[in-house]
Structures are given as C-alpha cells and as structure tokens.
C-alpha cells in the first residue's frame, strides 16, 4: 500500500471535479454560476476598485464609480436626521441602550418579571434622553427626531407596546367568552387583511378624526400607534400558536388547584407558550424592524427618509444608489444579527434539551 494520504487528496480534488464537471447538467450549472459571478464583477469594480472613498470636492465623484465619500460627508444626517448636532450624543446613547436591551431580551437567562422592569426603565430613559426638557437637557421636539434612533425606537416601542395587547388578543381568541373571542378574531383578521401602508394611512388621516379636537397626537405617535396595532395582530397569532401547543392538562391542573386565572396565565400558561414560539417571535421582530422603513410613506423622518433626502443634495452627482446601499447595509446588519443570534441561542437550548 502506498501512502494513504495521496489517494485521499487526489480523491478530494477528483470529487470536486466530478461535482463541477461530472455530467452535462453539472457543467451547465458551473457555467451558469460562473456567469453570475462574472456578472457581478462590474458591480464589484464600481463599489470597490473605482470607488471614491475621500474626495476634496463632490465634483470628483462625477468620474464614475461609487461615491462613498458622500456617505461619510452625510453620515451624521443619515444616522440622526435633523437632531441638533450638539445634542447627538443623546441619540447615540439611545441607540446603545436599545442594542443592550435587545441583547438582554434575547438571552434566556434574563427572561421573567425583571426584564419587564428593565424595559420600562430603558424606555423611560430613552424618551427622556430623546425629548429632553428636564434634568438640564435641551428640549428637542419630535419633529426634529430622525434617522437611526427613530427607526430603532419605532421597532422596539411598537413591539413592546404590542406584546401585552397581543397576549390579551390571543387569550381572548382561545378563551370561552364568545364576545371576547369574536372581538379578538375580528380585530386580528381585519388588521392582518390590510396592508401596513393602509393602516399607516388610517393612523395618519383617520385617527385625528376619531379623537376629540383638543387631543392632538403628533405624527410620530400616530405612526407608532399604527405599527403597534399591526404588530399586536401578528404577535397574537404567533402566541396563539404557542397556546395551542400547550397540553390542556396544564390548565386543568391549575384550575383543579384553584389558582386564579391571571396568576395561572402569568406563571403557568405564558412561560410555556412563549418558549415554544421563540423562533416565530424572532421572525416577527425582524419583520417589524423591516416594516419601520414604511413610515417614509406617511412622512416620518426615519433613517430611510433621511438617506433619501440626503441623496437629493444637488452638490453631489446623483448618489441615491450609494445612500440606499448604505441604509440597506444597516438594516441587513440589524436583521441578520438578530436572526443569527437567535439561531445561536436556539441551538444552545436544543443541545441542552437533548443531552
């Protein structure tokens, strides 16, 4: 026998060769994939090789290639919108607080009543920081809020506010009270049947009509209301899935023990139901992060709107592609990050359960 390493090595190359060129279909697929890769080369050239990273004046970008200098020039505007520059440290702290809260929420060790307190405290801190007006912080009206903090606040607040409503709707839909059940089904199905754009119109145009004239909610608040209602309907369906997966013996046993309804819900039903639906819950969270981008349609100044209005600056030669790519990159990092982290946690839980 010769050295066993050599045939193994050759066979690895051989295997790869068979995979790539083994039969006609493989050759076709290889040519197709290489075609796609080669098709991406001009895009790579545009984005990296021909790109302008720093320029003395915007006119240099007219030479072709990506104008990343535009992003660095407009970075503050895209990330923080019209927020007063000298107060931007507050917006940065808000973003950091949100990231910390999300990381804490995703870790199973933190789940429980403590987390609710943490969230309440976090939201209070964020609103005080963004709004100001007390503790010696300058007042910043919501019309000046913009960029990344608005995107993140809308996502986090809509999900956070929607969660209790979603639990009530899901329990109502599963419960025995016919009025409650039908009202829950009606609300959930109507909201899920409407596109979010429609709901945003409702909130922006109809909400002021439905409230007494002296109640004024600003644009950001109305948008948040629409996002909350939307998230509540979708979260309710996810939680209902968890409730359905709960063995009925759990509820019967707690009823036999005479545990009051809400205490049973809090200590027995919800912990088990929610644990079952963590993957779809994470998914809904990602969907809501992406949905916050729609507020552009009703004129809320989120990160995407900021990028769009930055791209209209006539000093720069049509940099809308770069601006949208940059925003897309930030959304990608957020959404992919949440997905990857939750997959990591899920794998951890699964391996614990199996061992």
């Amino acid at each position: 026998m010769a050295n066993p390493n050599i045939p193994a090595k050759r066979s690895a190359i051989h295997r790869l060769f068979t995979l790539l060129f083994g039969d006609w279909l493989s050759i076709l697929l290889t040519v197709l994939s290489l075609g796609i890769v080669i098709g991406l080369v001009p895009a790579f050239n545009w984005a990296v090789l021909d790109a302008h990273w720093t320029v003395a004046s915007p006119a240099e970008c007219r030479a072709g290639g990506a104008c990343w200098a535009f992003i660095s020039a407009k970075l503050n505007f895209i990330l923080f919108g019209l927020y007063p520059p000298e107060e931007q440290w507050r917006a940065i702290i808000v973003v950091i607080v949100i990231v910390m809260l999300v990381l804490a929420t995703l870790s199973p060790k933190m789940w429980g009543g403590r987390l609710l307190v943490l969230w309440a405290a976090g939201i209070a801190v964020m609103l005080v920081l963004m709004n100001g007006g007390i503790l010696g912080l300058a007042y910043v009206p919501t019309s000046k809020w913009g960029g990344l903090p608005v995107t993140l606040l809308l996502a986090v607040l809509s999900l956070g506010l929607a969660f209790p409503f979603a639990i009530v709707l899901a329990l109502g839909r599963r419960g025995s009270l016919p009025v409650m059940r039908n009202v829950s089904i009606f609300i959930i199905e109507i909201v899920r049947g409407l596109p979010l754009v429609g709901l945003l119109f409702v909130a922006a145009i109809l909400l002021p009509l439905f409230l007494p004239p002296d109640w004024t909610i600003d644009k950001l608040g109305r948008t948040l209301a629409a996002l909350t209602v939307f998230a509540a309907a979708y979260l309710a369906e996810v939680i209902r899935g968890g409730l359905q997966g709960l063995p009925s013996g759990q509820i019967e046993a707690s009823q036999a023990l005479g545990i009051p309804y809400w205490r049973m819900v809090w200590h027995i039903v919800l912990p088990q139901a929610i644990q079952k639906v963590i993957p779809p819950l994470t998914n809904t969270a990602i969907v809501m992060v992406k949905n916050t981008a729609l507020v552009l349609i009703v004129g809320v100044f989120d990160m995407l709107s900021a990028a769009r209005s930055a791209a209209t600056d006539p000093a720069w030669p049509g940099p809308s592609t770069e601006a949208y790519l940059f925003v897309a990159g930030i959304y990608f990092v957020i959404c992919y990050g949440i997905a990857a982290y939750s997959r990591h946690l899920e794998a951890g839980i699964n391996s614990r359960n199996h061992s």
């Binding site: 790869l16 995979l19 790539l20 279909l25 493989s26 697929l29 290889t30 197709l32 994939s33 290489l34 796609i36 890769v37 009270l177 016919p178 009025v179 409650m180 009202v183 109507i190 899920r192 049947g193 409407l194 596109p195 979010l196 754009v197 429609g198 119109f201 409702v202 145009i205 109809l206 002021p208 009509l209 439905f210 409230l211 007494p212 004239p213 990602i286 992406k290 949905n291 981008a293 729609l294 552009l296 349609i297 995407l304 769009r308 791209a311 049509g318 809308s320 592609t321 949208y324 790519l325 925003v327 897309a328 959304y331 990608f332 959404c335 992919y336 997905a339």
Partner: protein
C-alpha cells in the same frame, strides 16, 4: 362580565363615531359614497385598463384595483418560478451554485422591501440616459430614463374578435386534448397543443382579413410615442417585488422538499430512478402538500406588499386612494374602499388555495 365588555366596546364606538361626526362637520367635509360617481379630474400615469380624468372616482378605484392585481399576478408568477429554481439551486450538490443561492436568500430577506424598491428605482432612473440619447441595443427597443419602449403588434379594427377567437380555440384545444388523449404523456401533448393553436390562430386571422402591422416607437420632441411602453416605476416595483418574494418562496419550497421523508429518496434510488426523476416525480408532488399553506400566506402578503409601489409612484390602489383623499378629503370612505378590496382579495385567495389544498390532499390514502 361579557355584558360589561360589550357595553364598553359599544360605548367606545359611540364615542369615536360622535367625535368623527363632529370633526367632519367642523372641517366641512362631505360624507357618503355619492362622490364615487363624480368625475375624478386627476390623471393616472399608467393603467392596464382605459382611464381618462373625466371618468368617475369609482372607475379610478377600479383602475387602481386592476393595477394592483396585475402587479400581484406578475410578482406571484415570477416569484413562484424563481422560488422553485432557487430552492433547487440551494439543495443542489453543486458547491458554487448552492452557495450563491444561500447568499441570495440571506441578502434579500434581510433588507426591507421598500429600501430595495427605492434602490432599483434610483438605479433605473439615475443610470439610464435621457430619451434623446436612449440606448438601442436591439433595433426598435429604446431604453431610457423614461422607461422601455419597444415595438408592438397592432391590429386593425376587429382585432379584438380575432384575439377572442384565438383564446377560445386555445381553451377548446386543451379541453379536447385532456379528454381524448389522456393516455399520452402531458409533456408530449403540450407541443401538439401549441402547434394546433398557433396554426389555427393564423387561419382565423387570415379568414378575418384584419390588417396586422408592427408599430415602432419614434422620438417626438422630448419623448417617444407609440409602441409598447414599460415605465421605470413599473419596472422598479416588478423587479423589486419579484426578487424579494423569490427569496421567501424559495425558502418555503426548500422547506417543503426537505420535509419529505428521506426514505422516499432511498426508495427511489433502490428502484433505480435517477435523482432528477425522484425529485420531480416523487418528492416534489409530496412536498406540494407541505408547501401550499405557507405559500398562500406568502401570496397574500405579496398582494399587500404591492401597496409599497406608493413609494416609487406606480398608481396601484394605495396611490389612487391617497390621491382621492387629497382631492376630496373623503378619507373615511376611501379607506373603507381599500379595506373592502384587500379583505375580498385575501378571502378569495384563501378560498382558492384551500380548494387546491383539498384537491392535492385527496391523494393521501
């Protein structure tokens, strides 16, 4: 307790309605649906059915619905075909192709659709030249900032009847073929269908003696006239919606295929079938049962996602509703129209897909 709940809800409704009535009266906004029959007096930039500003608001809504459905059908068809290819690419043993497919899904799923739409719209409108210096890669096809203009077949008077007769012929060919020649394989029958239909249509056209000509777009002043037209708005929303939805349908189909028991593959191999035969004859038909329910909700969310065309200015229902609200102030009625349309579409699609689901589930024994 239920009575209290019901009372509370009715009270809330009464309060909201009272507020709405007093607010509407205060702002001097008319209510009621009779505005639907007044002339709309606003233009709609493109539509698949005929519209002029002198048509009624009702017709404007119909045009919006037609555009929404048109966009939805195109996006759903493209995304279903694309999703199947994407799923097969992801599952293939080909190292390069499967990685490209996985990369595609990761990238397109994690970026909001509206960002993608604005990106494509920006790309289309910023990278193409003005109509005067339009690209002409293929003779007669003009690619410019204003969209794509291509030559189109135009028929003289009576052309509609010829098309209708041709469609009737197609239906007849398929029905007769399915009844009489069922013993022949479908793949063998399809070319025969196509040939009979094509020749038959030519005979109908010749008998009807309708003139047929090619109309090419030509530059008049600042823009093109004539020919077939594809606007950049429509292009951006179609490309964006199809690419985004493909990432999701691809994942649904892949999930369905992976959920089919591994024994089916092993059984097929033991019978000496090739991988391709196992996939298309054994695995995919069974995966269909798993795929249909999530696919239904994906189709529905695609229909709802067409409303994002507002962001690039394609006149689907959402944009028409928005324009009507700005014109008349009758927000309540317009939004009720929108709600009604989307609920109808949702219920219809669920109904059709449930029927389909029941049909394929019957195979199970």
């Amino acid at each position: 307790m239920q009575i209290a709940l019901l009372g509370g809800l009715l009270g809330l409704l009464y309060w909201v309605a009272g507020n709405a009535v007093s607010n509407l009266a205060e702002r001097g906004i008319r209510t009621g649906f009779d505005f639907l029959f007044h002339p709309a007096r606003f233009p709609i930039s493109e539509s698949i059915i005929h519209y002029t500003p002198s048509d009624s608001f009702l017709w404007a809504f119909v045009v919006g619905v037609a555009n929404t459905l048109w966009l939805s059908v195109i996006a759903v068809v493209l995304a279903t075909i694309g999703g199947l290819f994407l799923a097969l690419a992801q599952l293939s043993k080909h190292p390069l192709l499967s990685r490209l497919a996985v990369g595609y899904v990761t990238l397109f799923r994690n970026i909001p659709l509206i960002v993608q739409l604005l990106f494509f719209y920006g790309l289309v409108t910023s990278s193409l030249p003005a109509p005067r210096d339009a690209f002409q890669r293929v003779s007669g096809v003009f690619l410019s900032l204003r969209g794509v203009y291509a030559p189109t077949l135009v028929m003289g008077p009576g052309g509609g009847w010829v098309i209708a007769a041709s469609i009737l012929l197609l239906i007849a060919v398929i029905r007769v073929g399915h009844r009489r020649f069922r013993h022949i394989r479908l793949l063998r029958r399809l070319p025969a269908y196509a040939a009979i239909w094509f020749l038959g249509s030519i005979v109908i056209w010749w008998l009807a003696d309708v003139p047929l000509g090619l109309e090419s777009p030509a530059l008049h002043g600042l823009n093109f006239r004539g020919g077939m037209y594809l606007s950049p708005e429509f292009a951006a929303i179609t490309i964006g919606l199809a690419l985004y939805t493909t990432a999701f349908t691809g994942e649904i189909i892949r999930g369905g295929i992976e959920a089919v028991d591994k024994g089916q593959w092993e059984g097929g191999r033991a019978l000496g079938l090739r991988d391709r035969q196992i996939m298309f004859r054994i695995v995919l038909p069974q995966a269909l049962r798993i795929i249909v329910p999530p696919m239904t909700s994906q189709y529905l969310s695609t229909v709802k996602n067409t409303t994002l065309a507002v962001a690039v200015g394609y006149p689907e229902l959402g944009l028409v509703v928005n324009t009507v609200i700005n014109q008349t102030g009758q927000a309540l009625e317009s939004i009720m129209v929108m709600l009604g349309v989307f609920l109808t579409v949702s219920l219809t699609v669920s109904l059709i897909m449930n029927r389909f689901n029941a049909k394929i589930a019957l195979v199970e024994r």
